[in-house]
Amino acid sequence: MKIIVCIKQVPGTNEVKLDPATNTIIRDNIASIINPFDTYAIEEAVRIKEKMGAEIYGLSMGIPSSQEMLREAISLKVDKAMLLTDRKFAGADTLATSYALSLGIQKIGDYDLIICGKQAIDGDTAQVGPSLAKTLGIAYITDVSKIIEIKDNIMHCLKITDDGYEELKVKLPALISVVKEINMPRLPSIKGMKHARQAKIEIVTFADTDANENKLGLKGSPTKVRKTFVPTHEINSEIIEGTTEEKVNRLAEVLNSKAIRKGM
């Protein structure tokens, strides 16, 4: 089977420092890394390959130096890599990014499965995976935490949800985005790194595609960021006080309440 893993280069830090004057991320002296969620996507593809045989393509859109990141993916047992890089691709939002990635995927062609990380740690949108599936016209499952089986062109997997898990089956070709619960990504080996240093990364520019320029980069990006915020999850907590008897009664009341039973 042929698996395509979408990979993004992100700043390698958890402590994002903002420039107080411009409110933009200070990227000086911060080395770039593979988006951590994408490392789970790579690992899952490699595990499928080790189990049932597969050819893995690493695909990224980004600045020319993203080649090094793709080389790292190859050191992790990805077989081939393609980088979409061109000034015309720059400034893309999630829609324009998925369009650009779809161009690369069409070039690779004849795929069975596309794996993306759940989201990138710099943008945090979790939109590119689903948007890419829509562009390609294939089915997708987000937040996959386990691939149970791939058999007869059907993938059977678990999707993590707010309330638990959903067990789903999807006909291939399809796209999945994976969460960190799915596996423990390996680190590259010396052998993998030696191989990766000699590997050739395929570079695709605008001229190599028959793309619609208006759907690419800044031009193809309708997104306007008005405000950013962290979604809140409302958790009601209550501290039970009183005598032992009062506390036990209140606890029984709470446990018997609808809210708890609904979740059971």
Partner: protein, 539 residues
């Protein structure tokens, strides 16, 4: 109590009777001093009344140095200010002046953020900080326990994984101030007070001249040693205080030296098919020529660490049953023994050249270049650090579990080092001993300096006692190999019997005479380094 700083010892101070060695002591009073003046005031009173004094930092020690043996406890954890920074233009070096209670983790945080509390600093310090911010600097001594205080680290001459390249605490201490038992202060700056052969003389701030003769014993020829007082011909007297386990004075200020941070920092874990091959790899990594047809590897690692096959088995098992260890890397079944190295250089390309050579050596030794984990960025390096720390954590968790059924049981850990040419002998000694006594033990640690921590997890009191006996017999053999019975934890109270295997009674008496020059009534850290002997008039 006459002195207002001193507090009568009550149950609420119970934790100050213990340290990480899990030994429990006893005391009458405690003080949480905040300045050198307060130390002096407490010590003057103790001196007048002949009250013994135990010195404490963060109590993270493993040899029970800070566990009190009666009398007073002087706790330095509240003396945790940074007093200033000094820039040495000639050598392009920065030095930080610290109170003894500053924690290692705080030093690291200050340096990472380049941010200090500068209240009370002079202009020269503030100016030095301004210059320091232009570069990246780090403090190289890296014991695993980052909540240790700098005072404690100086007292036991702590080291860590990177001591392979950077040496121990001693190698990065530029000056200290120490309060003697009578309250007088001694200020020592490296290079200023050197013994003439064995004769030395040092003047206190009070104008008293302390002079004497250094003992005749020789220190073992190992790279890591903290077994008794440092002693050498023409030595710097600052080195006598470093590693003295708090038996000579209360260290009230320390100046540490910083190193320039290198641009690239890699970690590599290498899994070898058997232990013997792993030991050969260690020899190659430290620059020994192990094959006649090829040169030594040009890699200059800062750390060379070891995980025995039973340590890997323990981690595999914990990974399976304990969610806390689910995030460490998966250890394949055919991985037998692991070697972990860290390399720092000014570019990735330079490191890579060495790594390519390393790959060739691994293959030549019968290993597999694919059985390696390479971390060449901070994110992945953190993963390898977690893996390394998982080993002692696993041991401690298992010990805590066993102690629930029998609280007399404690972890049995070794801290001995031997010369380079005894590496294979010492490994054989450990493996044979564990096997013959059927002990539940794992081996890990600083193999680059032939300094391993054998950690036994006794399943019952019988195993605990057999383990203790075995360790004692190992101490004897280590001495006959020319090794040190304590490499980085200090002698403290726990290893007093081991030190007696290393040095004859005469030599230990010579050490005691040296102590008495600075602490005539032997008030400091009673029962530490020396067996306790009642002295006249001392309470």
């Amino acid at each position: 109590m006459d002195n207002k700083i001193k507090i009568r010892f009550t149950e609420e101070y119970g934790e100050y009777l213990r340290d990480e060695s899990r030994q429990v002591g006893f005391a009458d009073s405690i003080s949480f001093v905040k300045s050198e003046e307060e130390i002096i005031s407490v010590l003057k009173e103790n001196y007048a009344n002949k009250i013994p004094t135990t010195i404490q930092g963060a109590r993270t020690g493993l040899a029970a140095s800070s566990v009190p043996f009666g009398g007073h406890v002087i706790n330095l954890s509240r003396m945790n200010k940074v007093n200033g920074i000094r820039y040495d233009e000639v050598n392009d070096k920065f030095y930080i002046k610290l109170q003894p209670g500053v924690l290692l983790v705080e030093i690291r945080k200050y340096l990472a953020n380049k941010s200090f509390i500068t209240d009370g600093w002079n202009d020269s310090s503030k100016n030095a900080l301004y210059h320091m911010k232009k570069g990246e600097w780090f403090y190289s001594t890296d014991p695993t326990e980052i909540s240790a205080t700098i005072g404690g680290m100086v007292a036991c001459n702590a080291s860590g994984a990177k001591s392979f390249r950077y040496g121990s605490t001693r190698d990065h201490i530029q000056s200290i101030r120490a309060v003697l038992s009578d309250g007088d202060v001694i200020s020592l700056r490296r290079g200023e007070v050197i013994s003439d052969g064995r004769l030395f003389s040092v003047t206190t701030e009070g104008g008293r001249i302390i002079s004497g003769r250094l003992p005749k014993y020789e220190m073992p020829n190992v790279k890591k040693n903290t077994s008794g007082y440092f002693n050498k011909l023409n030595m710097d007297i600052i080195d006598l205080f470093i590693g003295s386990d708090g038996t000579l004075g209360v260290i009230s200020e320390i100046e540490i030296e910083l190193n320039k941070k290198q641009k690239s920092n890699w970690g590599i874990t290498i899994f070898m098919p058997d232990e013997d091959k792993a030991l050969d790899l260690v020899r190659a990594l430290r620059g020994e020529k192990i094959f006649c047809d090829r040169n030594a590897i040009n890699l200059n690692p800062s750390a060379i660490e070891f995980f025995s096959h039973n340590a890997l088995d323990m981690l595999r098992e914990q990974q399976r049953v304990n969610p806390a260890f689910a995030t460490i890397q998966e250890i394949k079944e055919n991985y037998h023994t692991a070697i972990y190295i860290e390399i720092e250089d000014d570019s990735d390309d330079k490191i890579w050249a060495g790594v390519e050579e390393l790959g060739e050596i691994i293959v030549k030794l019968g290993g597999d270049e694919d059985a390696t984990w390479v971390a060449n960025n901070p994110t992945n390096l953190e993963k390898l650090h977690s893996f390394r720390h998982a080993c002692p954590e696993c041991v401690n968790m298992q010990i805590d579990l066993i102690r629930k059924s029998d609280s007399r049981i404690t972890k049995l850990g070794t801290d001995m080092s031997v010369p380079d040419n005894k590496l294979k002998d010492v490994m054989k000694m450990y493996n044979d001993g564990i096997l013959e006594n059927n002990l539940n033990a794992v081996i890990f640690g600083h193999i680059g300096n032939n300094h391993l921590h054998v950690n036994t997890i006794p399943r019952d009191m019988d195993e605990y006692n057999r383990g203790k006996e075995l360790y004692s017999s190992w101490a004897e053999k280590i001495v006959s190999m020319g090794g040190a019975v304590s490499a980085e934890h200090g002698v403290g109270k726990l290893k007093v019997p081991f030190l007696q295997k290393m040095f004859t009674k005469d030599k230990i008496d010579d050490m005691r005479k040296l102590k008495k020059l600075f602490d005539p009534d032997q008030l400091f850290n009673r029962a530490t380094i020396f067996p306790y002997v009642e002295s006249k008039g001392v309470k």
